[in-house]
């Protein structure tokens, strides 16, 4: 049995009853003293009447206090739940059903898929709603969303919405979904508010406590309806106000093998035209597994490889395929069916070999083999413009260049910028162009720190440094795409001794390489101009034999290639795009025209064009894993790939203690979905609202009070 108040604030009104008592006692002390000739008759009455009057006075006081108390209690809307409540009567309630329809819910449970079971549980919750109850439906797959805007008072509408739910390929975001549910309940009509969380309670779906401000730890976007901060605060309010959460953990098979990544790499030299494909497979089951991995390219199986994995172990399957380098190719690596199908196939695309035009700006009058020379040489060693087509111009000619032509501009130790050059570069970055800045002899520290160069504000230069013995260039962060394959252990694949450089403090962006004990050596940051601005990379040492070993090292070529590719392609090409995330592709030749996207299920969509020096088209949120074909006038201009978040493939459930920690601050209880759900819900949820009883009680007391008061004049 549980006794709760829906409007607990009105309980303060009960203090008025005490107030009356205080007034009564106070007035008793202040009663007037009157001289009277004789108390003879009063003494006689005292024996039989006055005592009765005093009792009636006390009775009146008690009755009046009870009236106030009852009114306060009625306004506070007490609700009795549990066995003693009896019946089906309950307080009008607003419920938020937070239902997990993420990829993992597609696996089989005891009665159909887990999603089917979840919908059945939700339908049972709906059955127990009464007239006047309000319901919201929130989905957990990233990004969580409210299915019924503003909620519904119709059970039919709610059931229809539940029936329309289908498993997605997106990862679970329980914390964000619960926050969204709490936010919806915060604005709900009924004061009794409850949240029902139904899902497989995947451990990987819990990225942090629900009531942590800012939603830290959240993987996905903030989804519909407000920022994380707002949700967090709403959650805190909810915790204060007392929405109750009921958790239905569904159980399904947890053994799962999945492909967590597929990497493609062009091979050069004697194997030109061949692509190396590496599929990473993880055994998420509790048994050793020997499974075949099949590789498909352009819809045709081109390879097969076996992996033998212990429980929890990662393994790789490697393939080498010959492809036409002038065309787009797509494919996937595939595992046999197991507990979860959606992660048995992982897609990839292989873009055609393209040439990127790069503008290298050198200082006016530069004649020596300086930074611009080595940069040009590194970007196009053969002079055939296979990957990059560099153009070297003096600084004074910069403003005459066509701004939309170059996806990337390299400032090779150009020194001070005049206003025109500075404005040209600012516009270039603002419209999405990439910028690589190589510092050197001509760098003016003060001018830099005053913000002369676009994107310089994230890096505060201190002073140049010189080390006779040189410092070893080192990776600052592991696993960054820019250094992927260029790092062995804690070191670069080649020792680069730096004798001169700039000490600096990084105030934004990412530190890719560092001068150990001094500061950043290579940084990448989003340039000024908003989220669609280009990236700015800064190399804090010149490409000059007097500064370091870079001109003499084979390390320079892949490093510069990756830097330029990074800033000219940006985040759109970094890593896999996961279901639920936005998908961006850069058109090969900046072609303009109406672009159409064919989704993996054969339907089409129109992507958004983004203005800038690069021709970028984007889908706001990809919902299906697979190959997205971008075409213009029937011609394929780009392929985009969307994969399942491998996090979703970890099917191990969180235990109740873990869930409890994530729901800390929210009153919650677990209900076994395999038991009698209705009884469980009724026991936990339903209660009898008692305000009418208190109103009737107050009226009865009022009548009694009037009767007593009339007796006074008798």
């Amino acid at each position: 049995m549980n006794f709760t108040f829906l409007n607990a604030a009105f309980l303060f009104g009960a203090l008025a009853a005490l107030l009356q008592l205080i007034i009564h006692l106070f007035s008793r002390r202040r009663v007037e003293t009157v001289d009277f000739s004789s108390l003879r008759f009063l003494r006689e009455l005292e024996r039989r009447k006055i005592r009765r009057v005093r009792i009636r006075q006390i009775l009146l006081l008690v009755v009046r206090s009870l009236i106030i108390l009852f009114v306060a209690l009625a306004l506070a809307r007490p609700t009795l739940s549990g066995a003693l409540a009896g019946g089906r009567s309950h307080a009008r309630t607003s419920v938020a059903i937070v239902l997990d329809e993420s990829g993992s819910m597609a696996r089989d449970g005891a009665r159909g898929t887990l999603l089917d079971e979840a919908i059945a549980v939700a339908a049972r919750v709906v059955d127990l709603l009464d007239e006047g109850d309000q319901a919201f439906l929130v989905t957990c797959a990233a990004p969580p969303r409210s299915v019924l805007a503003g909620g519904t008072f119709s059970r039919g509408t709610l059931v229809e919405s539940l029936d329309e739910l289908e498993p997605t390929a997106a990862a679970t975001e329980y914390a964000d979904a619960v926050r969204l549910g709490l936010e919806l309940l915060d604005g709900a009509r009924n004061l009794n508010r409850e949240l029902y969380l139904v899902g497989d309670m995947q451990r990987s779906g819990w990225t942090g406590p629900v009531l942590t401000a800012g939603g830290s730890g959240s993987r996905g976007s903030d989804g519909a309806g407000g920022s994380d901060g707002e949700r967090a605060s709403s959650g805190k309010r909810a915790a204060d106000g007392g929405p109750s959460a009921y958790v239905f953990p569904l159980e399904g098979p947890v053994g799962n093998l999945f492909i967590s990544d597929v990497a493609t790499e062009r091979r050069y030299g004697g194997t030109a035209g061949r692509i190396a494909v590496t599929a990473q497979v993880k055994n998420g089951s509790r048994r050793r597994a020997k499974v075949p991995v099949r590789l498909f390219v352009d819809g045709v199986q081109v390879g097969r490889s076996g992996v033998d994995l212990s429980p929890g172990e990662h393994g790789t399957a490697q393939f080498s395929v010959a492809l036409d380098e002038s065309a787009w190719h797509s494919g996937w690596a595939e595992l046999p069916d197991d507990a979860l199908e959606i992660d048995n196939r992982r897609y990839f695309v292989v873009p055609p070999r393209l040439t990127t035009e790069v503008l290298i700006v050198q200082a006016d009058g530069e004649l020596d083999r300086g930074d611009a020379y080595y940069t040009e040489l590194a970007l196009d060693p053969s002079g055939n413009a296979e990957r990059f087509s560099p153009s070297v111009v003096p600084l004074s000619d910069l403003i005459a260049q066509d701004q939309g032509r170059f996806p990337a501009v390299v400032l090779a130790d150009v020194g001070r910028l005049d206003a025109g050059a500075s404005a040209w570069l600012a516009r270039h970055v603002e419209t999405g162009g990439g910028l690589v800045i190589i510092l050197g002899d001509r760098t003016d520290v003060r001018a830099w720190n005053e913000g002369e160069v676009p994107g310089s504000s994230v890096l505060v230069l201190r002073e140049p440094f010189e080390r006779e013995a040189g410092v070893r260039l080192a990776p600052a962060s592991r696993g960054h795409p820019l250094t992927d394959g260029l790092v062995v252990g804690e070191r670069l694949i080649d020792d680069i001794a730096v004798t001169r450089g700039f000490a600096a403090d990084l105030e934004g962006g990412e530190e890719i390489l560092e001068f150990p004990g001094i500061g950043p050596a290579l940084t990448v940051a989003r340039g000024p101009g908003g989220e669609h601005a280009g990236e700015v990379a800064v190399l804090l040492t010149a490409i000059d034999p007097h500064w370091n070993d870079l001109p003499r090292s084979g390390f320079l070529v892949p490093l510069l290639h990756r830097i330029v590719r990074e800033v000219s392609g940006g985040a759109a090409r970094r890593g896999d795009v996961l279901v639920g995330e936005g998908l961006e592709v850069i058109l090969a030749d900046g072609a303009a025209g109406r672009i159409e996207v064919t989704l993996p299920d054969g339907t089409t969509a129109t992507p958004e064009h983004r203005a800038g020096s690069r021709a970028v088209v984007a889908l706001a949120a990809a919902t299906l894993p697979g190959i997205h074909t971008f075409s213009m006038n029937g011609t394929v201009v780009a392929l985009g790939v969307v994969n399942v978040d491998p996090v979703e493939s970890d099917l191990s459930p969180a235990d109740p203690q873990e869930i409890g920690r994530h729901l800390e601050g929210i009153a919650h209880r677990f209900i076994d979905p395999s038991g009698d759900i209705g009884a469980g819900i009724l026991e936990a949820r339903h209660g009898r609202e008692l305000w009418r009883l208190f109103v009737y009680g107050a009226l009865a007391l009022l009548a009694f009070e009037m009767y007593l008061a009339r007796q006074r004049t008798g």
Binding site: V31, V34, S37, L39, L42, L45, E46, K49, V53
Partner: protein, 299 residues
Amino acid sequence: MPDESYRRFLDPTVVSKLATMELRARLVVEGFVTGLHKSPYKGFSVEFAEHRQYMPGDPLKHIDGKVYGKTDRFYVKEYEEETNLRGYVLLDASASMAYSSEGISKLEYSRYLAAALVYLMLKQQDSVGLLVFDQEIREFLPPRAHPRQLHVLLSALAAAAPSSSTDIGLVIHDLARRMRKRGLVILISDLLDDPADILPGLKHFRHMRHEVVVFHVLDPRETEFDFDVDATFRDMETGELMTTEPFSIRGDYRNAVRDWMTMLRRECAESRIDYVPVLTSTPYDRALFSYLEKRKRLG
């Protein structure tokens, strides 16, 4: 048509504003007498009795000239002997007599009433005495008919002030033992004492063949108990405190007072004692009428 204007002299609140006790007594009595048109009591103390034939030695001034003119014989007027009544005015000056809800207190009212009675009796050549008491006799002035007696009595009345509690029975018994000659006893009191003590005392007077008039003086609020708000009541004689809701017990209180007064009236009637309840808001003539009724019976 009776002239009602005299009543303004009998209004207790008007009388209480006059300067001296004597003036107040005179105004009360004269106001009362003025109002009595064709009063049957006019000149009763020098009442003509009969004519008889003149005998040598009779004072010549008593020869009735009118009869001689009609009959040519000498007749003298004979008058009834003067009553020579001995009156005792007993004034209760206990603390409870100081109670006043508005206007004048019971003691003040009683003093004016006593003064009027004394004035009236002395004017009729009766001898009048005064006894002021509370729980004991505080002042006793034996009856006199001397003209200076009025001043003495009025001075004593003026000096009467409320003091302690009452013990009427003790005082009455004490006085009854002192009074040897038959007389008229006028008790002016609120009788807020145990009736079991009071009534035997009054009967003691009757046993001694005294005529007794009891003026039961009460404040209207003592009978009505019309207090509006809760109050703590303090007994003016004992200092005892009691808090109550007057409006809750008003009805019972009134009934108790009515029963008490009814009992007193009945007991007095059984003993042929004149019981005259008077409220301090009542003009004095009611009290004076009662006195005169008694005098008529004494005739």
